[in-house]
Symmetry: C2
């Protein structure tokens, strides 16, 4: 058993700045993917970063389905197109027109697509920390996504999360078993640049909220 404690020194100023740089310059990329291939060793570093996310009860509930086959991407894009048309109808007037003008995915352009899943039965029916909050395993897989996203930013790779798709239909396309949930479908690749601000902010869709309005002390 390895119970050794490692020093808890803060990172150097340069290291701290790098972590904040990844956090603040990370973007949800839809439109700037370049076709250049993503090397296997680089992809493995990103998946290893995801694999080192926190997980409830050390469950590590995630799997990673790497998609490079253009025919599969085409099928996934078809699912997106169907869902996106349905989604557009849910908005009214000008808002609908703006919605339709937004590019919301880069499925076919991105050299790599990646499904991040959650095996809810992994580690048996009783999982430490999930006994009272059953969503914790799904949340673990989300933490894996965010680790990967930040590591990708540091590597100069863009990532976009595609959620406008029916999850069950997506499972069918990818052959994912019934007991496995898809938590995220990501597009990943080198990019021509990163937007200075989130695209929905730049498009005037919605403003960044003031942080101070979101902080409460010792109660709501």
């Amino acid at each position: 058993m390895d119970r050794a404690l490692l020093p808890a020194d803060p990172f150097t100023d340069t290291e701290k700045a790098a972590v904040y740089k990844a956090i603040h310059t990370r973007r949800d990329v839809r439109g700037q993917f370049r076709p250049d291939p993503v090397p296997d060793d680089l992809l493995l570093r990103l998946l290893d970063a995801a694999h080192h996310a926190p997980s409830v009860g050390f469950q590590q509930p995630w799997d990673f389905v790497v998609v490079r086959d253009p025919t599969i991407k085409d099928q996934v894009h078809g699912l997106f197109a169907r869902a996106n048309a349905e989604a557009a109808e849910m908005f009214e007037g000008d808002r609908r027109e703006t919605y339709k003008s937004l590019k919301l995915e880069g499925i076919r352009e991105a050299p790599v697509n990646l499904a991040v899943t959650c095996d809810r039965s992994r580690a048996g029916p009783v999982v430490i920390g999930r006994t009272h909050q059953p969503m914790m395993d799904l949340y673990s897989s989300v933490c894996a996504v965010q680790n990967l996203w930040l590591a990708a930013r540091a590597e100069g790779l863009g990532v976009g999360w595609v959620s406008i798709v029916d999850a069950e239909a997506l499972k069918a396309v990818l052959g994912i078993p019934a007991n496995i949930e898809i938590v995220a479908y990501l597009c990943l690749g080198w990019v021509s640049g990163f937007h200075a601000r989130p695209e929905l902010e730049a498009a005037g869709w919605r403003r960044r909220l003031a942080l101070r309005d979101l902080i409460h002390h010792d109660g709501w």
Copy 2:
């Protein structure tokens, strides 16, 4: 409208290493909290990191309830104790004894507790990207947690996620409105050290899975 693209250069080797260092040395801290106060400006940097997480439709559904009042921490600890006793009964034999020996929270020792929430009605009933995957707003708040966790590690602060608690009872203690969900309850503070490996791994509860077994290509 600011549509400028910033360069997508990879970070320098030192910067990349810092991001991976945060990812690989981050721990779920329960037992090493020191009582020293966490400065307000530092806490604000961490909350700002959380606030720059990706969010579905730029919804920014999170709020942050900062708890420093010891009487509130005591109440939350009472909720934990009750849930933890219930949880222990769900394990059998040796496993139950091991469970009982684990320290699973640092609610009273950590100088700061933090609830991260999700306002599911923020930005109205129709949110871009949530139309077909209703959990996306909750997942956005999880991304905020992971941003904060990594930033905290860079600052030399430990974070522990307490999920062994009834979420509705916790909402009552914190005065959180019915329409707001608690996604995470975190303990945060300076620590005497970080474990070299996850504690559940070191305790022999569960092994780290081999990454190669979790990767699939072009289908499950």
